[in-house]
Subunit: 266 residues, 2 copies
Amino acid sequence: MTVLENAARLLKCFNSECTDLTVTDVTERLDIPKANASRLLKAMRGAGLLETIGDSKRHRPGRLLIDLGAAFRGSSTLIAMAGEVVKEVSDTCGHTGFVSIRVGNEVSGVVDFPGSNALRVAGTIGRPLPAHTTATGRSLLARLSDAEVVALLRDATFKVTPRSPGTIDEVLAMLTEVRACGFGASFQETTLGVDAVGIAVGDPKTGEEVSLCIVFPSQIVSDAERQAILTGLADGAADIAFKTGDTRFKKPDPARFPLKGLTSHD
Amino acid sequence: MTVLENAARLLKCFNSECTDLTVTDVTERLDIPKANASRLLKAMRGAGLLETIGDSKRHRPGRLLIDLGAAFRGSSTLIAMAGEVVKEVSDTCGHTGFVSIRVGNEVSGVVDFPGSNALRVAGTIGRPLPAHTTATGRSLLARLSDAEVVALLRDATFKVTPRSPGTIDEVLAMLTEVRACGFGASFQETTLGVDAVGIAVGDPKTGEEVSLCIVFPSQIVSDAERQAILTGLADGAADIAFKTGDTRFKKPDPARFPLKGLTSHD
DNA sequence: TCACAAGTTGCAAAAAATGGAACAATTATG
DNA sequence: CATAATTGTTCCATTTTTTGCAACTTGTGA
């Protein structure tokens, strides 16, 4: 096990839930002798990969790492284009929007736009979620074949919340629907009271795929507003698909736009 | 030189200008034999610290790194509070806002809010800037003593743009003014046509300091709007200073709010 | 003050990184 | 299309780092 691998494993421990680590934390999480944890932390601190919070023993990611997200976003014109579309829609409707990518069976937000409504869903960056339990995740999974999805979800956990799918077959059924509709939707699935829509689009030249997503409170958003949101995302995504030459993209069908409360889980 | 140090040096090369690196780039930038550059890249790729773009030889930060910014932000209540204030002001005025921190003589944005006006300043995350040439940077530098500033700027470059300060003395004079006013301002200094205001606030418990900043187009923003922006930031910052017990904070003086075109460099 | 947990350091063995040069692959050029 | 030029990878013995254990130090709370 090289230092680099341990360093990477350590960095993976951080997310919006776990924002700092001590020697003991690292000892447990990476399952290494505490001597090594101590030295790893010291080395990473020396390199600027970590920093201590105040003068406590708690470590957080070093400041040099905070610019990296920008480099990642900047390296992808697909993400930039998707961000613009989502920002536009988010500004118009006032709800929180984000662009996310899939890594294995997880989706991570890469850009987010917090929304301006008083009642808005909090930002979702920095907390990878299972792909099969989210609108945005399913919009991305729907671009794979059923066989690939089955392989990906081999050791996934189902029914993580009361409204999330309970079996692989249920997921596959949902994906069939996503492929037919052209978008993913979720109704109070990941978070109670929160609905979401996601549309995926890719760039065949780089192999990248992103999902454009808007999340909003279930109760207060009318059907008309839902349609407006979806139309906005769909138009923007279609535009991107045209530019990148994404042939797998299917323009969402307005006739199937999700209505308030439309869900197979009610 | 440990791998970790090289890895960190490599990651430092990324910013919003330089979003991907090849073996040759790394060889030159880190001044190491290309054999090592090749192996470093491979090791970092293996650890997930980097990934290739498509199947090219170009590398960008790995996806595991994009969540780290969120962990950093989450580890600091100061950043969270500052973000809320800036978001509020940015939403109200429609201009781009961000929260930044100082590292040595550089400032990096940690959260940004792109603004909703048609004519807005683009996001500023991921591109560290010299502290002494920006409103936000000077608002942070002003919290140091002149001696500390002199030490920090020992090998800084001056006059990086026509309107940026030309000597250390000029910087010190500007900082004196910042300390008197309670805020930093810049007029078409870093970018032509762009003005900015920044207010710094700290948390004595953790030693952290952040700056709340709004950037806007010089031409179209009236005096009244400038005052509104500054009042918004100032009220929010004062609130934060009260909560953290920051005694070094000085509430900006409305009488000295910057007027359109008010600048010693005109 | 003591006990206990958390973190750090010394040491020899084991593993990984280094740099030079040969080799392979890719890209540009006539 | 062949050749040159550029870019990236692999081989090797040597040097350096990392590892795991245990002893040690520091800090915390009863």
